[in-house]
Subunit: 280 residues, 4 copies
């Protein structure tokens, strides 16, 4: 007996489509979200937004509030970061997603972005899940570092039970004994979760591997495994990034990757959500 | 180079003493906190409080706000639970600790209890860590299910950096491949953390093992390993518990265990904080 | 400083080609090995061999000696299994690989098969590694259930140091806290190992997932990630298999999968080793 | 339903006593085995043997054949090491245990030592388990690095099913994400295995922690948890050890530890097997 109900494929066979402006998760198109780990400056974010838009991303990511392991790490620009995300969105037409970490950041984010991200560290922050649920905004729910598939789906259940069915799950690597990569990207659960639940599932190979040279192979692998989208770190100048530069693709890398993803999507009978590149 | 500073033994060699009314953590006495996982009713809590007081506990635990994996599990009595904790404290003289899960529960708890507990699921909830830091109340910080020792000490650093040096660390088992026990109690890090940090470290064998028959051996083992205290689940009627009954000791079990802990403490040159049993 | 030398890409940049009769590992072709987990009977093995040959596999697998967790599980047909592998090889032209578990089985296998497999449980059986090294036969070395990349490469170093450079590495899933799949297939290390070492790396999605419905997506993902080959369980009647039937593809499933793998190979600039299907 | 039978407490309630000359495992006495990780020289081994004997150990350990992760690490003195163990045994009266890694080393060891050790890396080497079973010698079976309790008991079942009931289990730490200690000593399974099986269970805190400063606290903890014995690394000059010196106790450390273990044993109603120190 599954302990979750609303997110279960037993309740609803057909896949849930989660629409975030032009981006659609869970349909025949594979949605690629790209952008920097952290919003650092107007210049950096706009360069990233233009670059990923041109290469075919359908959505822009960027962190304004970061949960960091150390209190001495850069914690994000806060509301100023959100304003920059809105500006980048207005210029490029890309929908935006940003991480929220508590009630205050969630309330602010609701005014500026199109989708809320709940990070791995907050996957079982039930208060935050409920608030995200009540907000009605689409939610990107990352799997916790050591969360089982069942716990992850129960976290999604919190959001849906609070009245919000627009949940996209995101696999981002789990913590194992292997430290040759930052975390272990668990692609095997992508088709499994798609059997268990009607919610879309995307993959973040940037955080999982922590190594920009592994991001392209793992992005192709995720699409080949049937993922409904990707969440990628792309930075205009990875070597100068304030956070996670080592795992960021350059815009050039990203442009090179997208046609490979398009071709891989075709093998699983899908396409990339590439309309954007045509209009821009 | 250690990434934490304020909690490091490099900064301060002598152990920090954390006082919570009569209970002291980090000194020569070993502090035993006991009580039910969740406050269920006035009757249940008072029976538990009287029982653990008589057996020698120096502090009462009881959950009023629970972070639960499933939205359909019992989430606690909320403020009513806090009121009952205060009543039990007034009657028995025991100091109290309860888990806080967000800003609202933290603000309420400050009015009713003597120590705030931050649970494993919230160990990296940096907002909650900062609020607990600013509150000035003693904080019991549980290790996250898959947190490294370094991440755990950095979480404590958040609290201390916010101005609150009264932090007690609590090892409660980590997630591993082994499911014969609920989690794997990692006692080896107790003496290690005592080398790395000046903060007291206590152990929760109830959650770690999830099996009441393993709680007594692991409690003795924790004291033998040098732990500064224990956090134990004790329920007047474990078979009727709303939460985690399978891992709760009965009051009788607990009374039987305390003299063993007293004897084990002597081997490491310490005593149990047993004054309470004499006065009650 | 890498602790291994002979297997390191520091010693030799160009990839090692391991030839096993017509099959080549590490070149532009991707080699697909298929067949049953265990040789059960002449009828079963020949049906499997004919089926996988027709669908384009370049090599036949089949276990004659099994290391089983329980002494009461079926341990394989022994030499009779090896004879059947040789017969299937003679009929279909496929090269063969079988697991060896000790000196006696290794000596027997040398007379019947084209490649020796060392299983996950024996990855650090240094005696067996040395014997396989001295034999000169190509060796398929599976990663241990909890082996780090470094330990795996050191195990390969044992074989090469004993004089045998024909080593193919095989990722087969690692043990983690997640039991929704049998093990966690760690595809992220495929491109990593290809950077660290000149040895070919293939992937076994059957054992890793333990779920036949996940084998096709994970096979595509492995090829998309750049794997040099696949090791697949294919059984003529999975529902009747004596071992691991739940994770076996039927011959029909396998025939359906191969064109997808061919198309995925093209995306990474490679082809499947499909000559066989033309000749048969 | 338990998948093992002969080792199960369902078959036999009373604990199995395993006698190795004067040492007894599983009775009221706690047996302490001590000695160097590897036999390095006559001088080193005799100094260790005399020292541990004087301090109250009932058995001498020392490796002559090592399974090492790297082929370039010291692999042991082989038969010469066994001869030295016999000599040390004759002089001190201590029974001896040494690791066997394949058929050849096992056959040699049978002529020189009193107990065979099967190491963590070979826990699922079913051939070796069977040979150890047929030998009739007492066997010390270490838990594999990532073996579940069930797999470990099934490995013991192999030995008992081959006709040898003299099996002592040894917990030596499991592989987890936490690298602050070498492995994670899983003491919680000690009382659990004693419920599931009638076989004695001892603990090796030296390998588990990899840190000599953690060995004393974890040794006390193991006894407090109910372990039937300990396996400790003691070296006359830890700073000069060829292998694992960092985790070895000096003879002085060991002498200091034994009275603490004696006192801890009393708390669980047992004694240390200390007769030896009186006679020597």
């Amino acid at each position: 007996m599954k302990p979750y109900r609303l997110v279960s494929s037993d309740l609803k066979k057909e896949k849930t489509l989660v629409r975030v402006r032009d981006a659609v998760f869970g349909g025949s198109e594979i949605a690629v979200i790209a952008g920097p780990c952290v919003v650092e400056s107007r210049e950096q974010l706009l360069a990233a937004a233009r670059g990923v838009r041109r290469a075919g991303a359908v959505m822009l990511r960027g962190g304004a509030f970061k949960t960091r392991t150390s209190p001495y790490s850069f914690q994000g620009l806060g509301e100023e970061g959100l304003r920059l995300l809105r500006e980048a969105s207005e210029e490029t037409g890309l929908a935006t997603v940003t991480e929220v970490i508590d009630e205050a950041s969630l309330k602010l984010a609701l005014r500026y972005v199109d989708m809320l991200q709940i990070g791995a560290r907050n996957m079982q922050n039930s208060r935050l899940l409920c608030l995200a649920g009540r907000s009605g905004k689409p939610v990107l729910l990352k799997r916790g570092l050591s969360a089982t598939v069942e716990e992850w789906l129960l976290a999604a259940e919190y959001i849906v039970a609070a009245g919000n069915r627009n949940v996209v799950l995101c696999e981002r690597g789990i913590r194992t004994f292997e430290f040759a990569t930052r975390n272990t990207l668990d692609l095997g659960i992508v088709p499994l979760v798609q059997e268990l639940s009607h919610l879309p599932v995307i993959v973040d190979p940037s955080h999982a591997t922590g190594n920009c040279r592994l991001v392209a192979p793992m992005s192709r692998a995720a699409v080949a495994a049937g993922a409904d989208g990707l969440l990628l770190e792309v930075h205009p100048e990875p070597e100068k990034a304030l956070c996670d530069g080592f795992q960021s693709l350059s815009i050039n890398d990203f442009q090179h990757l997208m046609p490979q993803l398009q071709a891989t999507a075709a093998i699983v009978g899908r396409t990339l959500g590439v309309y954007a590149s045509e209009r821009y």
